[in-house]
Symmetry: C2
Subunit: 113 residues, 2 copies
DNA sequence: TGGATTATCAACCGATTGGTTGATCAACTG
DNA sequence: CAGTTGATCAACCAATCGGTTGATAATCCA
């Protein structure tokens, strides 16, 4: 599932945009689980959940192993970290920019008095 | 644009899933800009960019002010922070879980020897 | 072997998305 | 005032999305 980092961000953010998939992530953060286990709490078909899981897998947010007929899902913290990293870069940039604007305003105020 | 926090996450993550909108975010992190300024680098129509901006505004990631006929856009760092907060919660949970699994494995290994 | 369990594939459907063109609105400027 | 500029609205289109049902594959178990 190799992708450019741009496509990684596309698919990972898109994956998180769905509340069902976010609930799956939340569940998997507490430990691996199979499709049936993951599907159980939802009022939709197992096929629909299976599709959601494939979306998560393709985005790199989860990985899957084989255990006989089961395919347990595991959350990948590194993939999550890549997202916070992108967001934080820009958040910090804008916050820095705000702070330097504050400094300018403070300086002007000082000159007034 | 009041929404439940669930819908906030839906729309904010969906907003970040598009590379054009992420580029707009990146641009706005370096300071406010108008629609025309934002649209200039893109090979799509100004109307399309205007739609992207409306998506970003609805998601709460940006806010807009009035300056005569211009509508400058401003990036909201708090909205970004809400996203990293959600992601980090689950990332930390799964990392904690990994560490405790490691501990169990180490304990087993010790018993072996 | 044959039946249950786990999971996916395939085809389809309605809604949403990202883009277009053309018209319109609102505010500045001569 | 008329013309230009900044931005949006409206209608449309192809592609994607989230869901369904039904069939199929693969593994386990008795």
């Amino acid at each position: 599932m190799k992708q450019g980092s741009e496509e990684q961000l596309n698919s990972a953010f898109a994956a998180l945009a769905d509340p069902v998939r976010r609930a799956l992530i939340a569940r998997l953060s507490r430990g691996p689980a199979t499709v049936n286990e993951l599907a159980e709490p939802f009022p939709i078909t197992k096929q629909a959940v299976s599709k959601h899981i494939q979306v998560l897998e393709q985005s790199g947010l989860i990985t899957r192993t084989r255990e006989g007929q089961r395919r347990p899902c595991h959350l990948d913290p590194a993939a999550l970290e890549a997202l916070t990293s992108w967001i934080d870069t820009h958040r910090l940039t804008v916050e820095r920019q705000f702070r330097s604007l504050d400094t300018v305003l403070d300086t002007l105020k000082e000159k007034e008095s």
